[in-house]
């Protein structure tokens, strides 16, 4: 059996304590919530820790509530399964429900948390491998090595963002709360990420993602959203591409749009130009949608570090962007739709 290396488990009962432990121990300490990302990474030994700090006993972190002004607040350790099944999420933020329902598989969603999903490590098929396998390529830039095998001439890591909720929440304009040793701050969720496969989170290591705030203005009453995810199989697989869109309109004209992509860059990259191309155009203007989809393809940088041919994933970025925009605009969608199931 592939086993975990030994470590010390700490189970603090407050955010401050959790942050203090990690701040004190530095890189030798890591948080864990559901563990569905950390434990596999530690078993394969590309993430290491002497101390693991579980967040699951921190009171209040597992609350999900529709709070002030109709915002939805999801605590950091709320499981994906609870998000997906929550009636408020299903009715007010159906694309978010769909994005979360598309993550991994049912038992993993029952274990994995929204905080863990937003902080999930970037992925690459040269990296998500065992210690022995990585020895045989002499490691890579992201962990212990000196070369990025995906782009050997490059000085950065191109590992791709793996979270399915991140592009969707970014498109909806969500904000996150970060709790450090000296208190909490709130930032736009999109600012949590950096375009770097190694240093992919724009937060300090000891900061706990304590809450996600999904704004009322992004709910189904105000905004039309859609989420399309491409993966090989109907379950278990990570995205090799996801497209999250949110459109706001007045009198049939798009007033604001956000499009974020998953798995085709190191961060949930926003396609601002594509979004702009829609603004001022009628909702459901097929020409505008096609234009926007072409612009989406430009920001996608699929690399040969996951399933499927990278170039084809680029082609698919345009197709899926078109499909997601059509769906959000209420147009008929042709072709094979992905199976993101939300089954009662």
């Amino acid at each position: 059996m592939l086993r975990l290396p030994p470590f010390r488990l700490r189970t603090p009962s407050s955010l401050e304590e959790a942050a203090r432990i990690v701040a004190g121990e530095g890189p030798a300490a890591r948080f864990v919530a559901g563990g569905t990302d950390l434990w596999p990474n530690m078993k394969r030994r590309h993430q290491k820790a002497d101390t693991v700090v579980s967040l699951m006993a921190v009171p209040g972190l597992a609350e999900l509530r529709g709070d002030t002004g109709g915002n939805l607040e999801i605590g950091g350790t709320v499981t994906l399964d609870r998000v997906e099944r929550d009636e408020r999420v299903q009715t007010r933020f159906p694309a978010l429900a769909r994005a979360v329902a598309s993550i991994s598989s049912p038992p993993l969603r029952n274990m994995g948390t929204i905080g863990g999903n937003l902080c999930v490590d970037t992925r690459c098929t040269y990296y998500n491998q065992t210690e022995e396998w990585r020895r045989s390529i002499d490691y890579c830039l992201k962990e212990e090595g000196t070369v990025c095998w995906v782009a050997p001439g490059s000085s950065r890591c191109w590992a791709h963002t793996a979270s399915d909720s991140a592009p969707m929440l970014a498109a909806l304009g969500a904000r996150v709360r970060l709790a450090g040793a000296e208190g909490e701050r709130e930032i736009p969720l999109a600012d949590l990420y950096r375009d770097d496969g190694i240093d992919y989170l724009g937060k300090r290591p000891e900061e706990v993602l304590s809450r996600v705030v999904v704004p009322a203005e992004a709910d189904a009453g105000h905004c039309r959203s859609a989420f399309w995810k491409l993966r090989r199989r109907g379950s278990i697989d990570f995205a090799v591409l996801s497209v999250a869109v949110a459109l706001w309109q007045e009198h049939g004209v798009v007033t604001r749009a956000r499009i974020h992509l998953g798995a085709v860059a190191s961060w949930p990259v926003g396609a601002e130009k594509a979004a702009e191309a829609l603004v001022g155009r009628p909702v459901g203007d097929e020409e505008a949608i096609r234009e926007a989809a072409k612009l989406v393809r430009r920001v996608a940088t699929p690399m040969d570090n996951t399933d499927f041919l990278a170039q084809w994933r680029g082609v698919m970025a345009e197709r899926y962007a078109e499909s997601a925009l059509r769906e959000a605009s209420g147009l008929e969608v042709t072709g094979l739709a992905p199976n993101h199931r939300l089954v009662g």
Binding site: M1, L2, R3, L4, P5, P6, F7, R8, L9, T11, G35, T36, W39, P40, K43, R44, D50, S54, M56, D81, S104, S105, P106, P107, L108, N110, M111, G234, S235, I236, R341, V343, G344
Partner: protein, 194 residues
């Protein structure tokens, strides 16, 4: 660093106090400390579902959770499914329909199905497929598994519906008289040893 911990786990309604290294997973402790080897493993990375057990009634991959975090919780494994020596309806259905071939994925799938049927006594096919979709099976092609779950769900609801004959005998050969095989139910032929 790998300190041994002592924990009292409640497994299949029985408490047992066991000592194990703190970094050991629930999978390892169930199999190695509790001698409950019914729970299987195929990847130890969350990718196959073979290690599925129930924690407080919900499916959990025991390879990706620490045993020491499960004190005070209700753990259920395949060994707890039967009522004494009597098999439960899911077990009967899996055994009779050949939904277990090599049987290696079976404990995990039974537990995932058990969790689903407790919440949803009349699942659609789509729902069964979704709820079991974290569990890989290489032998059956899944069809007999879905059929077994449907049949077990009916039995649990108190409906005495046997599986249709084409599940047991194949579809009647088109255009051939007598291709339509007699629909004997497995319960009549072979369930005497439940």
């Amino acid at each position: 660093m790998s300190r041994a911990v002592t924990a009292t786990l409640r497994v299949n309604g029985e408490e047992r106090t066991v000592a194990f290294p703190g970094h050991h997973t629930l999978l390892e402790v169930l199999r190695e400390e509790c001698a409950l080897t019914g729970t299987k493993h195929g990847c130890e990375l969350g990718e196959c579902g073979a290690c599925t057990v129930l924690v407080d009634g919900r499916p959990v991959l025991s390879c990706l959770t620490l045993a020491c975090q499960h004190e005070g919780r209700e753990i259920e494994t395949v060994e707890g499914l039967a009522d004494g020596n009597r098999l439960g309806p899911l077990q009967v259905a899996f055994a009779d329909l050949g939904a277990a071939q090599c049987g290696y994925c079976t404990p995990g799938i039974l537990m995932a199905a058990e969790a689903m049927l407790r919440e949803q006594p009349r699942p659609s096919r789509e729902r069964i497929a979704e709820q079991l979709s974290g569990n890989l099976c290489r032998c059956t092609g899944y069809l007999k598994i879905v059929e077994a779950v449907e049949w077990a769900a009916a039995v649990r609801r108190g409906e005495d519906a046997g599986p249709p004959p084409e599940i047991l005998f194949g579809h009647p050969e088109p255009g051939r008289p007598g291709g339509d095989a007699p629909g004997r139910r497995p319960s009549e032929t072979a369930s005497s040893n439940t």
